[in-house]
C-alpha cells in the first residue's frame, strides 16, 4: 500500500469513471425516486406526505411488506447457516474441487430459471410429490402441500436458498482457506471440542464476511422482482411486485405510490445494513489490528 501526497491525482483518476457512473445513475436515480414520492403540488390542505398516507391505507400494503420481510429474513438467515456449515464441511472433509464446482452450479442460471426448477420439483404434481406417491405416502396430487405459489412464499424461499447458498460458499470459502489453524490446536490442547473451535477460531474470522454477505442478500431478496412475480400469489403480494405493477401500468396515476413504496423499502434496507454494520464495528476493528 502506497501512501501518496495530496498532489497525486492518480487514485482519483482510477476511481473516477466508476464514481461518475454510479453518481449519475444510482444517486440521481434514488434522489428522483424520493422527490417523486413527495407531494409537491401545493394545493390547499394536501400534505407533503400524501402518497405515504395513501400507501399505508392501500389494501395489501402491510401484508405485502410483512411477507417481503419474512421471505428475505428467512432466505438470508437460512442460506448463511447452511452455506457456512457446507463451507466448513467442504474445507474439512471434502477438499476435492469437483464437489465445490457442483455446489456452484446454481450460480450459472438466472433466478427465474431456478424458479422453474422449483415448479418442476416442488409443485403439487411435481417430482417430489411423485416420489412420495411412489412410496405410498400420498395417493393424489392434492394431498401434497402447496409449496409453489403459496401464501407464505415457501417456494420463493427454497428457490432463493438454492441460488444463494452457493454465493455464501463463494464468500466464506476464502476465509477458511486463510484461517490460522494453529488457534485450533490451542483450543484442542486446552480441551475444547468442535463447538469451541467454531466459536473461538472460525466465528470471529467469519463474522465480518457473513455480515456483509447477509446485507447483500437481504437487500437483494427484499427488492427483487423476478421470483416473487413468478412464484407468488395475487394476495399477499411482495412489495417489489406491487411497486413494479403500479409503476408499469398504463396510466401513470399510481407512479407516486410506487416511488413512495420504493423509498420505504430503500430506507428499510439501509436501516438493516446500518444496524448490522454497527454491531460488528468494534469487533472488526479488533480483528484488523490483530492481523
Amino acid at each position: 500500500m502506497r501512501s501518496l501526497g495530496l498532489n497525486n491525482h492518480k487514485p482519483y483518476l482510477l476511481v473516477l469513471p466508476a464514481l461518475i457512473f454510479f453518481s449519475l445513475f444510482v444517486l440521481y436515480g434514488i434522489g428522483t425516486v424520493f422527490a417523486e414520492s413527495l407531494n409537491l403540488s401545493l394545493n390547499t390542505g394536501s400534505s407533503i406526505v400524501k402518497y405515504y398516507i395513501e400507501l399505508a391505507e392501500k389494501p395489501g400494503f402491510w401484508s405485502g411488506l410483512i411477507l417481503s420481510l419474512q421471505v428475505s429474513a428467512a432466505a438470508t438467515l437460512l442460506s448463511i447457516i447452511i452455506g457456512v456449515y457446507l463451507a466448513r464441511q467442504f474445507y474439512r472433509r471434502v477438499p476435492d474441487s469437483i464437489w465445490h464446482a457442483l455446489a456452484w452450479l446454481p450460480m450459472l442460471i438466472p433466478h427465474f430459471a431456478a424458479g422453474y426448477l422449483a415448479v418442476l420439483l416442488l409443485s403439487q404434481s411435481g417430482w417430489f410429490s411423485g416420489l412420495l406417491a411412489q412410496v405410498t405416502l400420498i395417493q393424489e396430487t392434492s394431498r401434497f402441500p402447496v409449496l409453489v405459489n403459496d401464501k407464505n412464499g415457501l417456494g420463493i424461499i427454497v428457490t432463493y436458498l438454492w441460488k444463494e447458498i452457493p454465493f455464501v460458499l463463494l464468500m466464506s470459502m476464502p476465509v477458511y482457506r486463510r484461517m490460522d489453524w494453529r488457534y485450533e490446536d490451542v483450543v484442542r490442547t486446552l480441551g475444547g471440542g468442535q463447538w469451541q473451535v467454531f466459536k473461538t477460531v472460525e466465528w470471529p474470522a467469519l463474522l465480518p464476511v457473513l455480515v456483509e454477505t447477509g446485507i447483500i442478500l437481504f437487500a437483494f431478496i427484499f427488492s427483487a422482482f423476478e421470483l416473487p412475480y413468478l412464484l407468488g400469489v395475487t394476495y399477499p403480494k411482495m412489495i417489489s411486485v406491487m411497486a413494479y405493477q403500479w409503476f408499469y401500468e398504463g396510466s401513470w396515476s399510481n407512479r407516486p405510490l410506487a416511488m413512495a413504496l420504493m423509498t420505504v423499502s430503500t430506507v428499510m434496507v439501509l436501516i438493516v445494513a446500518v444496524v448490522l454494520l454497527g454491531l460488528i464495528q468494534g469487533k472488526r476493528y479488533r480483528m484488523m489490528r490483530g492481523r
Binding site: G29, E36, A103
Partner: protein
C-alpha cells in the same frame, strides 16, 4: 495475512463426508437432471419418477418460436457489452481502491457499495424520465447501461481483492525496467488478472441474463431479450417446452465462457501460465 501451514487433521467420519456429498448431489444436481429429462420427455405422467417416452418434440416446437434466434443474439450482445463495460470501469476502480490511500476513500467505497443496497428497481424507476429525455429508453444502449448498475459493484470487489492479493511489486519491477503504463497493463496485469477477469465476465453475464424488470422498464418491450420471451412462457407453455427454454438459460453462460476463452487465447499472447499469488 497469514497462510495456514496445514489443514487441520480430521477424525474419520465417513458417514458425514458421504452425507455432505449426497446433499450436494440431491440439492444442487438433481434439479438439473430432472430438468434435462423433462426437456426430452413426451408426456411425463404423475407419479412416475422417469418419463415414459423420450422425444425431441419439445425442442422442435421451441425452435419454431420465431423470436428465439433474435432474442438469443440480442441477449449475447447485451451480455458481452455489459461485461466489457464492467472491465473498463471495474479494473481501474479496483486498482485505485487496492493500491492507494487517498482523501475521501471511504466515501468512494460507500458509493461503490450503495448499488448493492439500494434496490435497482428503485434506481431504474428514478432514472426512467431522464432516460426518456436523453433518448435511451427503448434502445439496446439504454438496456446495456442499466444492466451495468447491478453488476459493477461485484466487478469492483473482484478486482479490488485481486489487486490486494497481487500487491504492487510486479508493477514497480516493470516500471524500474522502463516499461510504460500501457505495457505494464498489457504484459504484467492482464496475464495476472486472467482468473479474476474470468470471474467478473461470468458474473456480469449471468446477472445481465437474469434481468427482467430492468429490461422491461428501460427497453419498453422493444428490446426483446431472452428473459422477455421467457416470462410469458412461464405461465402458459407446456412443461417440456419450458424445460428446453430453461436449459438454454443454463447453456448461454457456458457458451459465453467458451467464447471469451477462445477470444483471449487469440488476443493475449505471451506467458499465460502465471497464477496470481
Amino acid at each position: 495475512m497469514f497462510v495456514s501451514p496445514a489443514r487441520p487433521e480430521q477424525q474419520e467420519k465417513p458417514i458425514l463426508t458421504n452425507g455432505i456429498k449426497i446433499f450436494v448431489l440431491l440439492f444442487f444436481c438433481l434439479p438439473f437432471a430432472i430438468l434435462l429429462l423433462q426437456s426430452f420427455s413426451a408426456g411425463w405422467q404423475w407419479p412416475r419418477l422417469l418419463p415414459g417416452t423420450f422425444s425431441w418434440r419439445a425442442w422442435q416446437s421451441l425452435s419454431r418460436e420465431p423470436r428465439m434466434i433474435p432474442a438469443i443474439s440480442i441477449t449475447l450482445l447485451i451480455g458481452l457489452a455489459v461485461s466489457l463495460i464492467n472491465l473498463i470501469l471495474g479494473i481501474p476502480a479496483g486498482k485505485g481502491l487496492a493500491h492507494y490511500r487517498f482523501r475521501g476513500k471511504s466515501l468512494v467505497e460507500a458509493v461503490f457499495l450503495l448499488p448493492l443496497l439500494i434496490p435497482t428497481l428503485a434506481v431504474v424507476m428514478g432514472i426512467h424520465i431522464f432516460m426518456i429525455r436523453v433518448g435511451l429508453t427503448n434502445t439496446v444502449w439504454g438496456v446495456i447501461l442499466v444492466h451495468v448498475i447491478p453488476t459493477l459493484p461485484y466487478t469492483i470487489r473482484i478486482f479490488r481483492h485481486a489487486f490486494e492479493n497481487l500487491g504492487s511489486k510486479w508493477e514497480e519491477q516493470a516500471a524500474t525496467l522502463g516499461a510504460s503504463q500501457l505495457t505494464i497493463y498489457r504484459t504484467v496485469w492482464l496475464p495476472l488478472l486472467i482468473p479474476s477477469i474470468h470471474s467478473a465476465l461470468m458474473l456480469s453475464f449471468v446477472i445481465s441474463l437474469s434481468q427482467y424488470a430492468l429490461t422491461a422498464i428501460i427497453g419498453g418491450g422493444n428490446v426483446v431479450t431472452l428473459a422477455m420471451v421467457y416470462f410469458p412462457y412461464f405461465q402458459s407453455s407446456n412443461r417440456s417446452v419450458l424445460a428446453c427454454f430453461t436449459v438454454i438459460f443454463a447453456l448461454l453462460p457456458l457458451s459465453f465462457y467458451l467464447l471469451m476463452y477462445s477470444l483471449y487465447k487469440l488476443f493475449i499472447r505471451g506467458p499465460g501460465h502465471y497464477r496470481g499469488c
